[in-house]
């Protein structure tokens, strides 16, 4: 088939919703308007780690325009959950509304329903929680050092336990210790990424509308509409068929709208009051409460030969999951899946741990796990190049994976394009490569 016959490949194709965007006619969850709609605001933990001594909602309930308040006692189904429970991830560890303890500043405790957003906000501010503060855990390596108490009974060492009792997502390939013993140089460093908020233009939110047929319609900006519906049903202990979730255009997500953060409590409030309920995160909540990309710490140790070959790489990494699991076990699996970077190294040892701290729970964001791995590995490659006095482009070309190489995950590499990509980048950047490096391909490593 010639390019001429192809309708889409190689052409600019119109974006279907562009005209609607340009006219301002695209419908987002918030663009449906119901009469008698209630607004939900959350009273959130002021402490990063504390025992809850008492919760007093009487002033909130008496606040003008407040219709009702909901605490963990009002939850008809689950009290704690994990979004991936249906696919076997567990144990479920995150309270839907906090009880007995709070484990991060911003954790939801009491939902307040008001006739207006302002009435709900004023009511939520009047909830009184008496805390008995506990020491906070904010550093991943300290968290698992054994010197601090466990944040929950689920994770006695403050890190996630994968199936088969593995405390980390692991890779064991070759013998790194032997590799280090044979190496001419040892290059070690520690790398740290920060949490990053997805910061979509439209904050997390939904509108739950009871219908006359006993079903609740939920207009939501979730990135995962069936996932959100099934989790909402599971949390509330109701049949998924009772819920009609309508997604639509999401006003930016980037992974920040998959946590099912607003729907369950809004549906419960709609069931309780029989009225439409809107729960919209303020910008402040979006920045401070909604989950971020995890912060990651990576300790990398490389064994390197004088000629630039990396013969051993050992990585211990710590994903700061915050107070609860959410999708972090998947994040660290993906993270480990990108080790040891796009390089062929004969001896690889990786422990990628999910660690619990008193920070806000972290979750998905564009390639989560991957970005932290690439960031640390590429900084490490530069450090290796500098240590042995080699051009960093040449170091990468020398070690780049080739077709046919056995990867650390016991998969034979195919469709590699690393060598050609570096060569093209060098050309664009005006970086001169020696002839033997220009002659390298992904199909052989003869030039090395």
């Amino acid at each position: 088939m010639s390019m001429k016959e192809l309708g889409v490949v190689g052409r600019n194709v119109g974006q279907r919703d562009l005209e609607s965007h340009a006219r301002g006619q695209t419908t987002y969850y918030e663009d449906v308007h119901y009469p008698r709609m209630l607004h939900l605001k959350m009273h959130r933990s002021a402490e990063p780690h504390a025992r809850i001594v008492s919760v007093d909602t009487s002033a909130a309930e008496a606040s003008p325009g407040v219709v009702c308040v909901l605490t963990h006692e009002d939850l008809p189904g689950k009290k704690v959950w994990n979004g991936l429970a249906a696919v076997g991830v567990g144990p479920e560890d995150e309270p839907i509304l906090a009880f007995d303890k709070v484990r991060w500043r911003g954790e939801p405790i009491v939902a307040v329903l008001g006739e207006s957003a302002e009435a709900a906000r004023a009511g939520a501010a009047k909830v009184e929680v008496d805390y008995d503060p506990l020491p906070g855990v904010f550093d991943v390596e300290e968290a698992i050092s054994g010197s601090l108490p466990a944040l929950t009974a689920h994770w006695p060492n403050n890190h996630y336990i994968y199936p088969d009792d593995h405390g980390a997502a692991q890779i064991r390939f070759g013998d790194v210790e032997q590799g280090f013993a044979e190496a001419d140089h040892i290059v070690e460093d520690s790398y740290q990424t920060s949490p990053i908020e997805q910061a979509p233009m439209e904050t997390n939110g939904c509108i739950a509308k009871p219908g006359g047929d006993g079903r609740i319609t939920v207009h939501t900006n979730t990135q995962a509409v069936h996932f959100a519906r099934d989790n909402t049903a599971a949390i509330l202990g109701i049949a998924p068929g009772k819920l009609r979730f309508l997604g639509g255009t999401v006003g930016g997500g980037f992974g920040g709208k998959v946590d099912v953060a607003v729907e369950p409590i809004s549906v419960l409030a709609a069931m309780r009051t029989g009225r439409p309920v809107k729960f919209k995160y303020t910008r402040e909540e979006e920045m401070q409460v909604s989950s971020t990309r995890s912060a990651w710490r990576l300790n990398i140790k490389d064994g390197v030969m004088d000629d630039g070959r990396i013969v051993a790489r050992k990585i211990t990494s710590y994903q700061d999951s915050g107070a609860y699991l959410r999708f972090s076990s998947y994040g660290s699996m993906k993270h480990a899946g990108h080790m040891p970077g796009p390089y062929t190294i004969p001896n690889v040892w990786v422990d990628a741990r999910v660690v619990f701290t008193n920070r806000p729970p972290s979750s998905a964001m564009r390639g989560f796990g991957v970005m932290a791995a690439s960031f640390a590995i590429e900084l490490q490659m530069d450090k290796v190049a500098k240590t042995i006095g080699m051009d960093p482009w040449q170091l990468r070309l020398l070690n780049a994976y080739r077709n046919g190489d056995m990867r650390a995950h016991r998969k034979v590499n195919e469709d590699a394009a690393m060598v050609e990509t570096i060569q093209a980048a060098a050309q664009l950047a005006g970086h001169e490569l020696p002839a033997e490096y220009q002659a390298m391909t992904s199909w052989d490593r003869k030039a090395s």
Binding site: A22, R23, G24, H33, M201
Partner: protein, 163 residues
């Protein structure tokens, strides 16, 4: 404080609305008049997604008290398409792929209109300055700037107004 009846001139229509004290223009446009192109990204004047024109001047409707608008003429993005025909500025956004999720687009178009109405032949720097109060998180600003450049060119070619 009691609810209050006010009159607003919006997109060429005279509207009577009952508002709560301290209601913002954004609240009234979105929730009372259901002019949904007025978005609400931050509610604190930081993102520009609620931008409208008040007597031709660019205003953040989330920081504007509805009852202070008085007799001024309010224009939302919907006001550009009263006859259903798309205007050159909107066409330029479409042709330059200047939107992805679309949430910032209405505010961007209004900020661009305000700029082109007072300066029909802006430099690139002037366009960047004119859009500097409006945030986008997915498309990136380059296609948006290109759209406004194209719209300015189209206007100078045809001698039309921006919208």
């Amino acid at each position: 404080m009691e609810d209050k009846l006010i009159r607003l001139a919006v997109n060429g229509r005279d509207e009577a609305v009952v508002i709560q004290p301290l209601a913002t223009l954004q609240d009234v446009l979105r929730d009372k008049l259901e002019l949904n192109a007025v978005k609400s990204g931050c509610g604190q004047g930081g993102c520009g997604s609620c931008s409208v024109l008040v007597d031709g001047e660019l205003q953040l409707s989330c920081l504007t008290l509805a009852e202070r608008v008085g007799d001024a003429e309010v224009t939302t993005l919907e006001g550009l398409n009263e006859t259903n025909a798309i205007v050159p500025l909107q066409q330029a956004f479409i042709e330059n792929y200047a939107a992805q999720c679309g949430y910032c687009t209405a505010g961007m178009v209004m900020a661009a209109k305000a700029l082109l109405d007072r300066n029909p032949a802006p430099s690139r720097d002037e366009i960047v300055e004119g859009l500097s109060g409006n945030l986008c998180r997915c498309t990136g600003f380059a296609p948006i700037v290109r759209a406004v450049q194209q719209a300015a060119q189209a206007l100078s070619d045809t001698g039309e107004e921006a919208s």
